[in-house]
């Protein structure tokens, strides 16, 4: 940033006399940025904003399999879909609440572990040594792998009778039987492991890029002052990474909370209750039970929840940053 602002500032005394001399260019200029944005705006409107508005409208209709062919016959039911899906006294409400807690636990565990692995790798790869470039490349591979190829491999590893996981557990004597991993309670562990395997390289990539901006002098200075590894980590690395962390944690949170691909590819259309993440839960009620009104109502609720969390997060991190 300093490199870009410094020349501007030096130049500034020269600009004022020139500025009034080009009013004609100004008018043309004021249109140009809008023209440049037209393609992006049209695409975002068409593929994101308009369908979202339609989605909100759908959540107010009774859109079951009887009405899906012809929308105009779908009765307007107001907030009934919300009442039906969010009321925790009903079975549907209970299931959604359960799904929410599963997703919350999944998100906290996955984001936390991914960040820990990412920061560990970024820190130990900070100083040069033989093989560093190779390891860095290797660690990024899971992120580059197409998700379906990665998850299908894990699902092979988690197979009860033919998978690697149970074979290792038996060979090392940790268990004396073959547990199921893709159904029942263990499915939460399975989906979490796959999720961390997929997303920690992204945390590593961002943190590594962030560490490159930390000047070596700061570590040298801390070292000369007698700071050990942990103190340098605490007083140099972490504060310098704060802007990266602020964005990284938010992005990881949103991706993980919305994650559909991992459970869908691991379990197929219907996830076991222990791994019933909220987006697969919504998918199930939309496409398997054929109630799109209820599915849309749950999606809108999910979006509102994410908006509130994001706004709160940004508010808190901004304020803390300006305090510091």
């Amino acid at each position: 940033m300093t490199a870009t602002t410094a020349p501007d500032r030096l130049r500034r005394p020269a600009t004022p006399p020139r500025a009034p001399a080009r009013p004609a260019r100004r008018t043309r200029r004021s249109l140009l940025p809008y023209l440049l944005l037209v393609p992006a705006v049209v695409l975002e409107l068409g593929v994101h904003v308009v369908p979202m508005v339609v989605g909100v409208w759908m959540s107010l209709l009774e859109l079951t399999q009887f009405h899906i062919r012809d929308w105009s016959t779908a009765p307007f039911v107001g907030l009934d879909n919300y009442r039906a899906t969010l009321d925790v006294d009903t079975a549907a409400g209970q299931e959604l609440l359960h799904s929410f807690w599963v997703t919350a636990a999944y998100t906290v565990a996955s984001v936390g572990l991914s960040w820990l692995l990412g920061i560990a790798a970024a820190v130990v790869l900070q100083r040069p040594f033989r093989g560093r470039a190779f390891l860095r490349t290797l660690f990024l591979t899971p992120y580059a792998l197409p998700i379906y190829a990665a998850v299908v491999t894990w699902s092979f590893m988690f197979q009860r009778d033919t998978g690697l996981v149970n074979q290792v557990l038996l060979d090392t004597g940790i268990t004396d039987h073959r547990p199921f991993w893709l159904i029942g309670g263990n499915s939460f562990v399975a989906v979490l492991v796959v999720s961390v395997w997929r997303s920690w390289p992204f945390a590593f990539l961002c943190l590594m890029a962030g560490l490159q901006n930390v000047p070596d002098d700061m570590y040298e200075a801390a070292y000369i002052d007698g700071a050990g590894f942990w103190r340098r980590f605490q007083y140099v690395t972490l504060p310098m990474l704060r802007p990266v962390n602020q964005v990284l944690l938010l992005v990881l949170f949103l991706w993980t909370f919305n994650d559909f691909n991992t459970p869908y590819l691991l379990f197929g259309g219907s996830a076991p209750p222990a791994a019933d993440l909220v987006s697969i839960h919504i998918y199930q009620s939309s496409f398997i039970i054929w109630d799109f009104g209820a599915g849309s109502a749950m999606s809108v609720t999910l979006l509102l929840f994410l908006l509130v969390v994001t706004a709160g997060y940004l508010f808190l991190t901004r304020r803390r940053r300006s305090d510091a």
Binding site: A40, A144, T162
Partner: protein, 279 residues
Amino acid sequence: MRETAAERYVRWVVLALLTVFTVTPLYVMLTSAAKPLRDVQGDFTWLPSRPTLQAFVDMWRTVPLGRYLANSLVVSSVAAVFSVTVAIFAAFALSRYRFRGRGTFSVTVLSTQMFPGILFLLPLFLIYVNLGNATGIELYASRTGLIITYLTFSLPFSIWMLTGYFDSIPRGLDEAAQVDGAGPMRVLFQVILPASVPGIVAVTVYAFMTAWGEVLFASVMTDESSRTLAVGLKGYATQYNVYWNQVMAASLVVSVPVVAGFLFLQRYFVAGLTAGAVK
């Protein structure tokens, strides 16, 4: 600054654990692809009883993998090129001009990233079907529809990253070109673009990978003729049998181009991320 013995020990332990975690699935994929079918139907073995490349031959016949591969290639490349082109113009506007609505645009575009895909999946599906019925433009079950959808998926992040990248190019360069009489488009094409090749490469790779790996929309928006790899790989699991060796062989084949491209360009990717996203 000396590294203590304890620090070195910890470093190697951390690296060893991370390596095992990262490599195990890759190892399983590689070795299982080289196994005969009966090896993957019994207890797991670390090595093939008899290494064979038969799975790499059979996988093209069990499902029409060639067609899925071609569909994925076309959809992902076209989506990536268009996404980056649109992002370049938008990022140029955001980086070099101050105009009313600038902040609103940035926030709106970035916030579309947090939409749960499931929320606009069905509306978009119905819009595509209805648009097709009304105008004859086939968007549902066509590669065009997928291309349009996917290019918007990578657009927000691409715009954001390129804006940051363009911001890091000194304005003095623009002004020098303007003094020479260059208009805004010439500034963009002759000054800014040549100086931001790493950022553009990084964004292109990102857009390609986004499209290549997308699953949810591919599973609803495609039919047999426009099916992409994301959905096509499911075909190896039949009612009676899963051809795990062929699944692994096919996964390997579809991973190689993106992994190779990404790893080859990772230096640009990290450079682009450093300049653009991490400020």
